[in-house]
């Protein structure tokens, strides 16, 4: 497992200058999303702006409840916004209907979720090719083989998810996210359920996909170690992007986050949720 990338010819461990191409992959402006109404209303997004360039690896961070998942869902066309605009390339996602958003997800995006990424009825192979099958297209055999080999799934293809370990399941999900050669891969805490070692393998793979193939990746995470794999970290608080860190290191992120948390929320966070910042050990009990 650890030498996975070394033995793989396709993706070499070289890191080109980040964001060398300056094409815009995602442009989001003034995103607003409110849940509920009246005094109970929660503004999950409150005028968030964001630009993501093609071929970059972006990590979205922020305290629990800050709107990270909501932002990602908005970008990926999974959710409808109350205000604001999202452009994917030249496409205005906010103007699209339900069916077009579905096709957008199927053909131009890849997804990795924190858990429950796979259909239990399908084998690993079938899970990987699911978006293509839904579109009635065939997988490019070379590309599929490369993904499968790189992710070390070759001898697991016939297995169903219940017969795979958590790490293997997440790798199958990553393969699925990449199989369509999507414009953007969205990942919501993809390593949240994995131990550090398996998490690192997965992140290295994403890093390589970005470097070698120019894959655009947007990842939500709580883990500074994970975010350190990104070209850029976008910090979100109360539904707004408040800061960006380029070429981040884990300790820089951890420091910033800790500071942010104490700045913004001197009292324990009122909402239940996974405490953020496992690297900095800042889980607060209320």
């Amino acid at each position: 497992m650890t030498n996975l990338l070394n033995t793989t010819p396709g993706i070499a461990d070289t890191r080109p200058a980040a964001a060398s191409t300056k094409t815009v992959a995602v442009r989001a402006r003034g995103l607003v999303k409110t849940y509920g109404s009246g005094p109970a209303a929660v503004k999950a997004l409150d005028g968030a702006d964001l630009v993501i360039h093609t071929g970059t690896f972006t990590a979205i961070m922020g305290p629990s409840g800050s709107g990270k998942s909501t932002l990602m869902h908005a970008l990926a066309g999974l959710d409808v916004l109350d205000a604001g605009q999202v452009h994917i390339g030249d496409t205005d996602v906010t103007g699209l209907g339900e069916r077009q958003r579905t096709l957008l997800r199927r053909d131009r995006f890849g997804f990795v979720f924190q858990s429950f990424n796979l259909l239990p009825a399908l084998t690993a192979q079938e899970n990987i090719t699911l978006p293509l099958d839904l579109a009635g297209r065939r997988a490019d055999p070379d590309w599929l083989a490369r993904l499968v080999d790189t992710l070390g799934l070759r001898d697991r293809l016939g297995h169903r998810p219940s017969e795979l370990s958590g790490g293997q399941q997440q790798r199958v999900a990553v393969a699925r996210a990449l199989v369509t050669r999507p414009e953007i891969v969205f990942a919501d805490e993809p390593t949240g359920n994995l131990d550090t070692r398996h998490g690192q393998v997965l992140l290295s793979f994403l890093r390589d996909a970005c470097d070698d193939l120019g894959q655009t990746i947007v990842m939500v995470t709580h883990d500074p170690l994970a975010a350190a794999h990104a070209d850029r970290v976008v910090l979100l608080t109360d539904g707004r992007v408040i800061e960006e860190i380029t070429d981040p290191t884990a300790s820089a992120i951890a420091d910033r986050m800790l500071q942010l948390d104490t700045d913004q929320h001197p009292n324990p966070h009122p909402r239940a949720g996974s405490g953020f910042g496992s690297g900095s050990g800042s889980i607060q009990e209320g």
Partner: protein
């Protein structure tokens, strides 16, 4: 505990809705049947009891048996002088002569044809009828009718009505009667006249039907009866009126017995099919609640407590279903009555009777069926271990028990098939019954193994035709992944369709046999029959007299039916006129001829099959017991071909002359008519129709429609049964909807994921609908196979070597297939819509 159970049931009410509907439907059916038959029975009891309250003893002509096939035999008239004599005997206060018969009421030229009898009776004042208006009939031209008929047909005192019996007369309405509290008798018209008028209309001369005796005050009825018996001899039958009333009611009720039996059997089928649905629901609920149950276990609940709580939920549901079903059953009774009416089986209507027994049965049925159906799931719930609280996982795929189940299923299925084959070969009905039961039980046990495989195969086949598609593939997989659920759903539909197929195949075969040979054996161009389809036929002698007078008619040959007892068993015979029968039929005789019945001595022609079975030949004697005469040793004078005998309806043929000796009945069942030479068929038919205009119940048919009409009552019953069976198909469809709806809840996250990675709503709908269709087609395949196989063997068995051939009704099967497809399509609609409405994000975040 009870509060917890109630809370759980309420919390799941959405998921339990269809289950509740299934229980309710089943109970509705049971209650409807019981209410219907109780009501009708009560009507009979009341009718015969009220009629006998004032009378203590009834004297009638003695007969060897009272009733056959639910109809009371007719008795010879008594001499009216016997009434006068009886009145003089000690202990007798009054001896009232009574004439009873049938007399059609005609008002303003319109015959009043009730669904039941047209009663014509002499006025006695003691038979339960009480005057509501006017006075009793005194003059010869006076009549009293029941208030209900009068109201329904706008007849008032002073109007003239025609009463048509053996002869007819115009009579003035001088009174209206009710019966007990009611305005009349259900489905009946009543005409009460003076004794002399009734005698004249029924052409009884001096004869009377019975003597109603009222015992003197202070004497015991039984003593008086004994004395009368001793005095009057064995030619007459002296009976306590309570006993005759009970016997009459029993005879009338025995006809209801067939209907009750058939309806209850169908209700049972509906319940069994509903049970599959219930079982599925609880199985899904338990699976969905594995975590919750595990937490309960971890918190210290015993397995038994878990099981009790699940069964408690089932009981609550069963009680609710029973209560709702009882209410609906009261309404359903009316619907069933209408259905029976449409099928030509009229049951009398009266004040609705909801007996305590019905309530108990409804509750028991609802609760027991639900508990049994939920038992498997409850046991599985009890086995949930606390560890499962921590584990995401597959539950309910118990490998070892699955193998035991498959083994049991295979054994039962094999035993069933073996018993069916043996039963088919040896024509043994018990073996067939046992075989069918074993086969069904076996298939039910095998269902979780067989059904998903069948579904999968069909899915493959479908994909081969339509090309590979992910939604279809996923549908196939979903069906396979929940083998029990798929199995139960498929089997519920399969069983209901198998029943429809069975009825349709057996019906078509019997139908073909009934019609076969009719056109070859019956050469008469015209056939006159009663449209009401009375068991013994319903043509009054006047019908024949009218036809015989016509110039356009060459030959009229009547057929009559009668019942006799064959050492206890009731059999039917046909009486014919040997002088004219050859003009209107062409039958093959194996030995002798039909004219051998003619030469003034009694004899019987029997079918070749009966001859073989009984080991009788021409010249041997057959012991036949008739109500009028008792047992007679009748010589066999000829053997007739089995098929041709069918055209004449029975296996035993006698002459009309013998019939007159042995039977009191005088109605013709069929008149076979041949036009006179030089008259065309059309002319003859028009002449007949004109002549019979005043007899609305008489129908003139040409040969082809007569052949059709032979199966009319069978057709009615088949339609009724099929209509009712459609209810079970409906329940099976609810089962599909239920299963899919529940599985959508179970698969919410999966569906969300599918939508997230790009499955369109349309694809999602297609997936759910395909699953529904696959289940339906699997049900169709299994159901048709089982239905055709069992019915084929049954047909062979009831044929008993006779000429009943298996007919596979293509239209019938096409309809079954269409029904299955409709079930498949409609059953999936709601769940598909519901699945497509799922919000992607909510689905993903569902826990």
């Amino acid at each position: 505990m009870l509060r917890l159970v109630l809370k759980q049931t309420l919390a799941h009410r959405g998921r339990l809705l269809l289950t509740f509907a299934a229980i309710t439907l089943g109970v509705t059916f049971v209650v409807g049947t019981l209410v219907l038959t109780d009501t009708s029975r009560e009507v009979f009891d009341d009718q015969f009891c009220d009629a006998s309250t004032e009378v203590d003893i009834v004297i009638r002509d003695a007969v060897a048996f009272d009733a056959a096939m639910g109809i009371e035999v007719e008795r010879d008239p008594l001499n009216s002088r016997l009434a006068a004599h009886t009145a003089t005997l000690p202990g007798v206060s009054r001896a009232i002569p009574v004439v009873k018969g049938t007399g059609l009421l005609i008002a303003d030229g319109e015959a009043i044809v009730p669904a039941g009898p047209s009663m014509l009776t002499s006025w006695t004042g003691v038979d339960g009828f009480t005057l509501r208006d006017g006075h009793a009939p005194e003059q010869l031209d006076e009549v009293v009718i029941d208030a209900a008929t009068a109201t329904a047909h706008d007849i008032t005192l002073g109007d003239t009505v025609r009463v048509q019996a053996d002869s007819e007369a115009d009579l003035r309405v001088v009174g209206l009667v009710g019966f007990g509290d009611a305005d009349g008798l259900p489905d009946t018209t009543v005409a009460l006249t003076s004794l002399a008028t009734a005698q004249r209309l029924l052409r009884l001369g001096d004869g009377i039907s019975q003597i109603s005796v009222i015992a003197a005050d202070g004497t015991a009825t039984s003593e008086v009866a004994d004395r009368l018996r001793a005095e009057l001899g064995t030619d007459v039958d002296v009976a306590a009126s309570q006993d005759t009333a009970a016997a009459s009611a029993a005879a009338a009720k025995s006809q209801l017995g067939f209907i009750t039996g058939a309806l209850l059997a169908l209700a049972g089928a509906a319940l069994v099919i509903g049970a599959f649905l219930i079982a599925n629901t609880f199985s899904v609920l338990v699976t969905q609640r594995t975590r919750e149950l595990a937490v309960m276990r971890a918190a210290g609940a015993t397995g038994r407590q878990v099981m009790t709580s699940i069964l408690g939920e089932a009981a609550v549901l069963g009680i609710a279903g029973a209560v709702a079903g009882t209410g609906a059953g009261l309404v359903a009774a009316t619907g069933l009555r209408a259905l029976l009416d449409a099928a030509g089986a009229t049951v009398p209507d009266g004040p609705t009777v909801l007996s305590a027994r019905t309530l108990v049965v409804a509750l028991a049925v609802g609760v027991v069926v639900t508990l049994i159906a939920a038992f498997g799931a409850a046991r599985r719930a009890a086995r949930v271990s606390p560890v499962m609280a921590m584990r995401e996982g597959a539950l309910g795929t118990a490998g070892g028990r699955g193998r035991i189940r498959a083994g049991v299923g295979l054994t039962l299925t094999a035993a069933g098939v073996a018993a069916l084959s043996v039963g088919g070969a040896t024509e043994s009905m018990p073996a067939l019954g046992a075989g069918t039961a074993a086969l069904v039980a076996g298939l039910v046990a095998l269902a979780p193994v067989v059904a998903p495989a069948v579904v999968h195969l069909i899915g493959r086949g479908l994909s081969a035709v339509t090309g590979r598609s992910v939604p279809a593939g996923l549908a196939r997989e979903a069906a396979r992944r929940a083998p029990r659920r798929t199995g139960a759903t498929v089997m519920a539909l399969a069983l209901s369709l198998a029943l429809v197929v069975f009825v349709s195949v057996v019906g078509a075969s019997v139908r073909a046999a009934l019609q076969s040979g009719f056109d070859e054996a019956i050469t008469a161009e015209l056939v006159v029959e009663s449209a009401r389809g009375e068991m013994l036929g319903g043509l009054e002698p006047a019908t024949r007299e009218k036809i015989e007078e016509l110039d356009e008619v060459g030959t009229v040959s009547p057929l009559r039916f009668g019942h006799w007892k064959d050492s206890g068993a009731t059999r039917a015979l046909t009486a014919l006129d040997p002088a004219t029968i050859d003009d209107v039929t062409h039958v093959d005789m194996v030995e002798g001829s039909l004219t051998d019945l003619s030469d003034g001595r009694d004899g019987v022609v029997i079918t070749e099959r009966q001859a073989v079975e009984r080991g009788r030949d021409v010249g041997d004697r057959l012991a036949m017991t008739f109500a009028r005469t008792g047992t007679v040793q009748v010589p066999v004078v000829g053997l007739i071909d089995d098929d041709d005998a069918k055209a004449l309806s029975t296996d035993y043929l006698v002459s009309l002359a013998s019939y007159r000796d042995w039977f009191t009945e005088r109605v013709d069942a069929t008149l076979l008519v041949r036009p006179s030479s030089g008259t065309t068929l059309d002319q003859a038919q028009t002449a007949l129709e004109d002549a019979l205009e005043g007899m609305p119940t008489v129908e003139v048919r040409d040969q082809a429609s007569a052949a059709e009409a032979r199966t009319a009552s069978l057709d009615g019953i088949l339609t009724l049964i099929t209509a009712v069976l459609m209810l079970t198909v409906l329940i099976a469809m609810l089962g599909i909807t239920n299963t899919l709806a529940l599985s959508i809840i179970e698969r919410t996250r999966e569906l969300g994921l599918l939508r997230a990675v790009g499955m369109t709503r349309r694809q999602l709908r297609t997936m759910i609908r395909t699953e529904s269709l696959l289940i339906a087609v699997a049900g169709l395949l299994v159901g048709t196979t089982v239905g055709v196989a069992t019915s084929a063997l049954f047909v062979r068995a009831i044929a008993q070597g006779g000429d009943l051939h298996l007919q596979i009704p293509t239209t019938g099967l096409a309809l079954v297939a269409a029904a299955a497809l409709v079930v498949g399509i409609v059953g999936g609609l709601a769940p598909a819509r519901r699945a497509a409405r799922l919000e992607v994000l909510t689905a993903i975040h569902e826990q």
